[in-house]
């Protein structure tokens, strides 16, 4: 999967706080529920997560590329897409949608 890489512009800015769902973290033995990342967009955030825990990007994004249909990313309370900018200090929640049977 190809997602944007973190840019130099994001370096040095206040970190974004990303909260990951337990059902995702379970898939990556060393992963953590709360992560601080210095990134400028949701796409960069997912690329940074994938760099830290290889394969996590594929769990969150498909090859379109787009955030998977049943994954929701909320930035400061609003549903986001890969292009959504992340302001310094933004609050990000990655959530699994209600689905299954």
């Amino acid at each position: 999967m190809e997602t944007p890489s973190a840019t130099d512009a994001a370096a040095g800015r206040p970190a974004v706080l990303v909260r990951l769902p337990a059902v995702l973290v379970t898939l990556f033995p060393d992963a953590e529920r709360r992560v601080e990342l210095r990134v400028a967009t949701v796409g960069e955030m997912i690329a940074a997560l994938d760099a830290r825990w290889p394969g996590m990007g594929d769990r969150l994004c498909d090859s379109t590329p787009a955030i998977r249909r049943h994954i929701n990313v909320f930035v400061d309370g609003r549903r986001a897409n890969l292009a959504t900018p992340l302001a310094p200090g933004a609050d990000v929640f990655v959530l699994t949608a209600i689905s299954g049977g």
């Binding site: 995702l24 769990r59 090859s63 998977r68």
Partner: protein, 360 residues
Amino acid sequence: MATKVHVLVGTKKGLFILESDADRRSWRLRGPFCETWPINHAIGDPATGAIHGAGGNEWFGPAVWTSPDLGDSWTHASDGLAYAAGAAPVKAAWSLAAGGGRLYAGVEPAGLFVSDDGGRSFAPVDGLQQHPSRPDWQPGGAGLILHSLVLHPEDRAQIWVGISAAGVFHTADGGRTWAPRNRGTRADFLPEGQTYPEIGQCVHCVVMAPGADGRLYQQNHCGMYRSDDGGESWRSIEAGLPSSFGFPAAAHPRDPETLYLVPLNGDTAGRYVPDAKAAVWRTRDGGATWTALRRGLPQENVFFGVLRQAMATDRLEPAGVYFGTSTGTLYASADEGDSWVPAARDLPTITSVETLVIEA
């Protein structure tokens, strides 16, 4: 050395492993594995001892799970298991086959990938996607899935795939070019006069008979078939069976004339066992005659079906036969199908059954 038989049971809620000794009288159940992801198919690779599970999760997409230690630990991977940007993404992995050091994975929407590192990463087998008939492939009830994956046991360049509902395709050059292998199989759902098309058949399951002489068997949405020429032509073997509809087929490990089927009552009649009585049907003569095997199977008020990948044999003598139901029961026979016992009950809907016999 002690013989251990493992039955790999893919379900809608994870992979389960049943384990027994060579007697196959009592079974120990472990699982669910793979974090309860839907596992469409799981295989054991006799060359490595690894177990691989093909699945797809509504939240997290497709992945192939691998355990190097019979289920004690697992990893999952989808690196490379993707179409190009802009194309419909891979939704789930549906079928697996291992041979010659390679691991093949069939996916939905229908396509084929291969791994040369034991399932850690995959590359597309592009030739199938580039077949000129690709725009005309239509999804079956379970989606546009590549569900049957047959590797020639000696000639690694030959592969057969079954795609619902595009039909059977064959490659003789390792996947660069493919040709339809549907001559003689019906498509009753097409208009009158068009029921024997070149592609578009709703193949449900393709298996190879042992012996590598080109003998294939096929359970189709519209009939049961045998080919003696690697799929170049097929002829019906449904006479003597209670219906022409069913999903799985399982070949005997040594006898090319023996095949197991589970006919269901019809595609518009509920898709459960005929007359609500469970039976596996066996031929010992290549499909000329059939015998219903019912001993130990319920014969009253039975409304389960058996899905396309949910029946298998083991390689012991006599051969074990196993099938899993849509209602979560795994039936096992240690005597080539003559008698059956439930080896596990109340599992989730069973999607696949395969065996791995090891000397431990």
